[in-house]
């Protein structure tokens, strides 16, 4: 089952906040993390995370700083802010509530294997 672009777009904020809640990271690394945990989640393009990251930063949910990476290139690292942590916690509660409603109404049919809930902060569950 392929998740629709609309579904993904609407939840990318939460996914990225969840990745960053594990520690500071940079774009490429976040893509790797997401692909490892939910293959296919970035099918619309890895580059589409940057507009989301920039919006999150504007909303002060994350902060960025430039550092020199292992390769010697300048690299932009992001880290979650307290406001971002709170937003993530709120989103988790929303997801838990939504999951409960959907499971009750739909009868608890399991999701296809590729989109089974991960242990990743409960965000995709």
């Amino acid at each position: 089952m392929k998740l629709s672009k609309k579904t993904l777009d609407g939840n990318m904020d939460t996914l990225l906040l969840a990745v960053l809640s594990e520690g500071p990271s940079y774009g490429y690394q976040m893509v790797q993390d997401l692909n490892a945990k939910a293959p296919g989640v970035l099918k619309t393009g890895e580059g589409t995370i940057y507009p989301v990251l920039h919006r999150l930063e504007e909303r002060e949910l994350i902060q960025s700083s430039w550092r020199t990476g292992e390769t010697g290139r300048k690299r932009r690292y992001y880290r979650i802010t307290p406001k971002g942590k709170k937003a993530l916690a709120d989103n988790r509660l929303q997801w838990a509530a939504l999951k409960s409603v959907m499971t009750t109404v739909l009868g608890g049919n399991p999701a296809p294997e590729s989109f089974q809930p991960t242990t990743h902060h409960g965000v995709t569950s």
Binding site: Y28, E46, G47, Y50
Partner: protein, 251 residues
């Protein structure tokens, strides 16, 4: 000569249309991402050229990323494709306070299909005022008008006036300096003798709607100017995009 990666990023930035300082930040970030991706793919045994193209493919269409990098609701948003969103939005589809486009939604909407508080277009849907070929809304002045107060070649409304008017109250014999004269083509539920005061009180609105047609000579040039502006802005945007890089990598 620029590398393929740089040209790809150029193209993203063309669509993002950011100030120079911010564009350079984005460039550095995308460069880092793409270079690391190419290195990883090369390490896995892929030839470098192939790895570069694969990295770009996986990164996504520059047009999509570029447009997404634009602010959520800028003062002016002009796009050659997709949906423009801004205080003034111009594009094939436009959503804004002032929206101009093939499909325009806004407080003031102008376009082929215009929907808003005040709408002007081929098909105009206006909560307050609609003017166009086919109009629907509160106060409508259109070739075919359907509304609370409707004036047009064919008008249907609570209060209607025009060539073929159908309404609760079509003020037969209604005369005014700028008014259309209504005769046998009108179909009115009420007659001048029993028309309710409420409908009677809407008559001045007919006058206003009718005035728009009467002052057609002013409205039409304004509409045409808007269309010209729309096309000019979109042409300029298209030209800017082509001038920056005519190498189309996105599909």
């Amino acid at each position: 000569m620029k590398s393929i990666l740089d040209r790809y990023i150029d193209r993203v930035l063309v669509y993002a249309n950011k100030p120079e300082a911010e564009a350079e930040t984005i460039r550095a970030e995308l460069q880092d991402h793409l270079q690391e991706k190419v290195e990883d793919l090369t390490k896995s045994g892929m030839p470098r050229e192939e790895a570069t193209l694969e990295a770009l493919r996986q990164h996504g269409a520059p047009k999509i990323i570029g447009y997404k990098l634009r602010g959520p609701f800028p003062w002016i948003d002009v796009r050659t494709h997709g949906t423009a969103r801004g205080f003034i939005a111009i594009g094939p589809r436009a959503v804004g306070v002032v929206a101009m486009g093939g499909f325009a939604v806004g407080i003031f909407a102008f376009g082929g299909f215009a929907c808003g508080l005040v709408s002007t277009g081929g098909f105009a849907l206006g909560l307050l005022l609609a003017w166009g070929g086919f109009g629907m809304g509160g106060m409508v002045s259109a070739g075919m008008a359907l509304g609370l107060v409707a004036v047009g070649g064919m008008a249907v409304g609570l209060v209607a006036a025009g060539g073929y008017s159908v309404g609760a109250w079509v003020p037969y014999g209604w005369h005014h300096a700028n008014a259309i004269k209504f005769h046998s083509d009108a179909l009115s539920y009420y007659t001048p003798q029993n028309v309710p005061p409420f409908l009677k009180s809407l008559e001045p609105l007919l006058n206003i709607a009718n005035s728009i047609n009467v002052y057609f000579v002013f409205v039409m040039p304004a509409f045409l100017l808007t269309l010209l502006l729309l096309n000019f802005m979109m042409y300029r945007e298209g030209k800017r995009v082509r001038a920056e890089d005519d190498w189309l990598i996105d599909g």
